[in-house]
Amino acid sequence: MREHKILFTGSMGAGKTTAIASVSEVTPVMTDVANTDMASAKATTTVGFDFGLLSLDNGDRLRLFGTPGQTRFDFLWKILAQNALGIVILVDASRADPVGDLQLYVDGFAEQLRRVPCVVGVGRLGAAGAARLDALAAYLGERGFAIPVVEADVRRRDDVLLLIDTLLAQIEADMLGVQ
């Protein structure tokens, strides 16, 4: 059995903790504390990391790590990204500037994104769904990244599994030399 690490990141409230809880086979480790930031209505926020486990059909296991979203915890981003097989960036499309949010994490994980695959999961799309997905994809294209952008409601297990499958498909394609 081999174990691999997948990292979930994204802005505060994008659903990192929820995503891991949706698929973890064990009770996730969470480091949520009371949120005192007046800019957010969230009751709690992650200040350390989230951790969950997911077994694959081939017997391998995924260790799922979630980062805090706020930049004041970016020292943890680098630590948690070490040896990650892939990165899931979650974007909350209902926030004021989803492209700006995405940029923060593309910049924050720029070094890793040169080496490991990534998928962007977008939640809370609302009525302007396709246009918002296109804007995020266009931004990534401008940055020279070929990263899939998919809609995902991280409260739904199947949506989170789709994000993970999308990552694993990229990993498999890289291993097969498929471009």
Binding site: V29, D32, N35, T36, M38, R72, R95
Partner: protein, 133 residues
Amino acid sequence: MNPSSGPLVDDTLRKLAQEEAAAMARELGDIRAVVIATGDGFEIASSVRGDIEAERIAALASSIAAIGAVVSTEAKLGTSTGIMVMTDRGFAVVHAATHRGMDLVIHVIAGADALLAQVNYRVAAAARALSAA
């Protein structure tokens, strides 16, 4: 991107926290930094030397405290009250505190000449003072 605006901290807490931070830095030997922060990593008060960034120390403190809380839970050891980081040139102590229901963390960074037991004793006293106010 929505910027953080920080916590609403009452003046009583901020004043007391600043007094405690300054007192700890003054009373204890070889102290590099004292930072008192909210549980989610916003600096409330600090007394730092050199190029230590109080805001980053505040965020570090909350992460360390939260991870300590997880360790306590996973190990069924009750409630975490503090963490120590021992290094070859000193140590850091992170201690939990509360003030009127708000979770706080006290983070002291000390050099090799500081006395661990003395720092722990003084930090615990500061935590009690913040909780009692």
